[in-house]
Amino acid sequence: MPKDHGIGASQKRREDVRFLTGRGRYTDDINLPGQAHACFVRSQVAHGRLNGVDTAAAAAMPGVIRVFTGADFEGVGGLPCGWQVTDRHGQPMQEPGHPVLAQGKVRHVGDPIAVVVAETFEQARDAAEMVDVDITELDPVIDMKAALADGAPKVHDDLSSNLCYDWGFVEDNRAAVDEAIRNAHHVTTLELVNNRLVPNAMEPRVAVGDYNFATDDSTLYTTSQNPHVIRLLMGAFVLGIPEHKLRVVAPDVGGGFGSKIFHYAEEAFCTFAAKQLRRPVKWTCQRSESFITDAHGRDHVTKIELALDKEGHFQAIRTETYANMGAYLSTFAPSVPTWLHGTLMAGNYKTPLIYVNVKAVFTNTVPVDAYRGAGRPEATFQLERVIDKAAREMGIDPVEIRRRNFITEFPYATPVAVEYDTGDYHATLDKLLEIADVAGFDKRRAESAKRGKLRGLGLNCYIEACGIAPSQLVGQLGARAGLYESATVRVNATGGLVVMTGSHSHGQGHETSFAQVVADMIGIDENMVEIVHGDTANTPMGMGTYGSRSLAVGGSAMVRATEKIIAKAKKIAAHLMEASPDDIELKDGRFSVAGTDKSVAWGDVTLAAYVPHNYPLEEIEPGLEETAFYDPSNFTYPAGAYACEVEVDPDTGKVTICSFAAADDFGNIVNPMIVDGQVHGGLGQGIGQALLEGAAYDESGQLLTGSYMDYAMPRAGDLPSFTIDHSCQTPCTHNPLGVKGCGEAGAIGSPPAVVNAVVDALQRAGHSNVTHIDMPLTPSRVWAAMQG
């Protein structure tokens, strides 16, 4: 029988009451007295020398308070990069400056040059058009391989080339991998593109800077997934404001998908300008502006080789990837194609030798950084595509070839530096075959054929590393921050409690699921638990939400803090009942003395903590409030198997997804309904990448897909009703909840299933030359593939 409360209950999301009735409070809902409005003047060319910016006409326009240019930011820090990758030769990556406003050059369409601050946004916008920018256009570099050619124009004049780094992983394996591939029975090679995506959170980015002249305090309200990270980066590296004088608030946030992890120029600008002008300064991104300023995702060009023995056992994998960084290094950009990608190249399989080479390249395009899955979708896509191709080449069933190579014993140390703690890949694959009714495929295919449609079945496995991340490990890998998480549990005298978490919820439902955990631990009603997040003024230092980490890391911190609360409460209860703390049991919100009928209620204990008239003051302090920081000892490794069935229209190339099934192992689950929703959303984004989405630049560096007229987002009608299952559970062995994380799985696991299915459909229809089609699989591309 399904639970109706506590861990494991599909409780409806309490935050939805305000979201669905229009009572959410997003950053754009914040309007401060005396607020001025900012409008950015942005580069319309991809690459150019900035000769001068004449602001005189703009400054004279009605309502204009001040026009800022790069000159105003001399002496102010640049936007920092939070991860330093070391290249194959032991050298640090090339790390260019990233000014808040352009200095000397513009490097992508959308690069900010000047900002008009005026009484109203319309006035700022009118005046922005009067800013006279003198630019000498330079040849841009858009294509990554062209950017690395001798004599290519340089995005950053002070760097030696457009190569950010040439990374080898594991470099010591390189010779052995080369030899294994040379001597292999069979080598399958695949070249592919992991298409560039525009994140498109429903809520565009917004920043409101505020400055209190009386106290010299600055406040930034912003659309962020990690307000403490923004406070640290912006305060310490950009504006030089000590953290105790800077507050960052990320209130309700309407989706992030990674794009709101990063510290952006507009945040620093609004905070800086508010202090300069002694007025609040607000900026709200226009949708078309977000296309050219939000960090994009993916954009890898890869060649992968898989060596197999004659039974189809994987012997070695070698990959060469070009990863687009865009024009600047966004906050975590260098880590995505390296440590979030290379470490996952083993997948679910015991391949003994792996070598991953990644060349990160600067181009005159919008910076690229983490987007839902971040590196893991890129790893999964190439691996699961090349396995499918190998299976076909060797005449082995795609299910069978995967089973032959599954890792079955845990813990398992991969040749790419991570150790999987637990998993059961046969079990999730068995579950998938059942829920997808793979056995009935031939019948469905025959039925499709009667209607003139080509049906295909694609399936794949995936694994991801979540619960990011062990601080000491990532420190060795180049992270410039710790990746622990924090929680403070504050119990009130009357028994209700507030959990202040460093995690941030922007769609994940933390306010519901986190409350379920704490309420379950104590045995009280969830409505007695309030979850507070998103404000550096009232939450402990936390690293925020991304990498499917909130429950695994933030939830673990919360469990630790709650354990401290319970331990102290037991001491108080023991005192009240004149018993030993060791004999106190807590169940259903009552403390009892083991083996007796003596008990006190949770509320009696909390009241005693704050009204300590009868209280062991000589032994313990009054009050009931505890903080815990949790630093994970390993990543978590959610894994699963996905299947997709498609119909291809042979006349038009249009792909219709008939069904999609997902069998995931997320370890223990707190709220199955929220997990369903996370998987649905991830699948929607993964299918969007596979069939619809793709950012495209022309040769001059103009974004061809700069609006929804040309950038195709998935809509409900593009998606089937999903069949999902997460009953296969191998709990994480190293965090107290045994949870693994579910936020990114759908986006990681689904693109190869879709492409495998389309290739399968075409192969079965006799298009034997079609071994791959690059995403998005638009009708035009699929039709062209069928033309041979």
Binding site: R125, E129, S288, D651, T652, G653, K654, L691, L692, A696, L704, T705, Y708, M709, D710, Y711, A712, M713, T778, P779, S780, W783, A784
Partner: protein
């Protein structure tokens, strides 16, 4: 959006007069013009709304059997009320989304003549007559290339008259992002012959496929065009489809439209 003056006349005569002012721009449902204004890509000094003129609205059947649609009639109204011409009603019901269909008008669509819009295919495929405040223009003379029409400065479409065919159908293949027609084909069979109009495909805007019309006029079946092909020259090539792909789709969709027309 830049500032502009706004007028909302209630008669055609007042509208014509208002549009004679320098730099005045007619506004119907605004489904193209308003986004253009919001992006500051146009800056008319005066907008003249055509949506408060009763004479421009409504659907009726004329004595000669033609379906007459007032220029300011919304797509939703055509979808619901053009029962005398089911293929046209179906076309209107597939334009954009409900919000677009409730605001957008047939006159606005034809005056704009977007090369990927649906209505131009229906008007040309039906041999419709575009009635303006000053004259009647045959569809064959009206469409003059992408965003180009026979309308003079300040001329207002008042009504569109569609001869009702024996059979007709419109098949649209959507561009995945915008959901405009990547290619759309309207086929109509009249006593005097078959008309085939194609939208979305050509750099010259909506056009008639003469060879298919001839073949279908003698044999109105999908197979009748088997031996025909459309050249890729002059077809639109973009992110969403090459000229070759669009040319291919013209034939595929024509056959499907014939099949759908029955």
């Amino acid at each position: 959006m830049y500032a502009f003056d706004f007028e909302r006349p209630t008669t055609i005569a007042d509208a014509v007069k208002a549009l004679s002012a320098e730099d005045a721009q007619a506004l119907s449902g605004g489904q193209t013009l308003i986004p253009t204004l919001k992006q500051r890509l146009a800056s008319p000094s005066r907008l003249v709304s055509l949506t408060a003129i009763p004479e421009l609205k409504g659907i009726c059947v004329a004595d000669d059997g033609a379906l007459c649609i007032g220029a300011a009639t919304s797509h939703a109204d055509v979808a619901a009320e053009a029962t005398a011409y089911p293929a046209l009603a179906a076309l209107a019901g597939q334009i954009g989304d409900p919000a677009v269909r409730n605001r957008g008008t047939i006159g606005g669509s034809l005056a704009n003549n977007d090369p990927s819009a649906c209505y131009p295919a229906a008007a040309l495929g039906s041999g419709a007559t575009i009635v303006t405040d000053r004259r009647k223009i045959a569809a064959d003379d009206y469409f003059q290339g992408m965003f180009e029409t026979a309308l003079d400065e300040g001329e207002i479409i008042t009504e569109v008259r569609f001869p009702v065919p024996e059979k007709a159908a419109y098949i649209k293949f959507e561009q995945p992002a915008s959901r405009f027609a990547l290619v759309g084909v309207f086929v109509a069979k009249y006593a005097g012959g078959v008309r085939v109009a194609v939208t979305g495909a050509s750099e010259d805007g909506v056009f008639r496929w003469a060879e298919a019309e001839a073949a279908l006029s003698s044999d109105f079946s999908a197979g009748a065009i088997d031996g025909l092909s459309v050249g890729a020259d002059g077809m639109i090539g973009d992110l969403h489809g090459t000229p070759e792909y669009r040319a291919h789709l013209v034939k595929v969709l024509t056959a499907r439209a014939v099949a759908a027309a029955g």
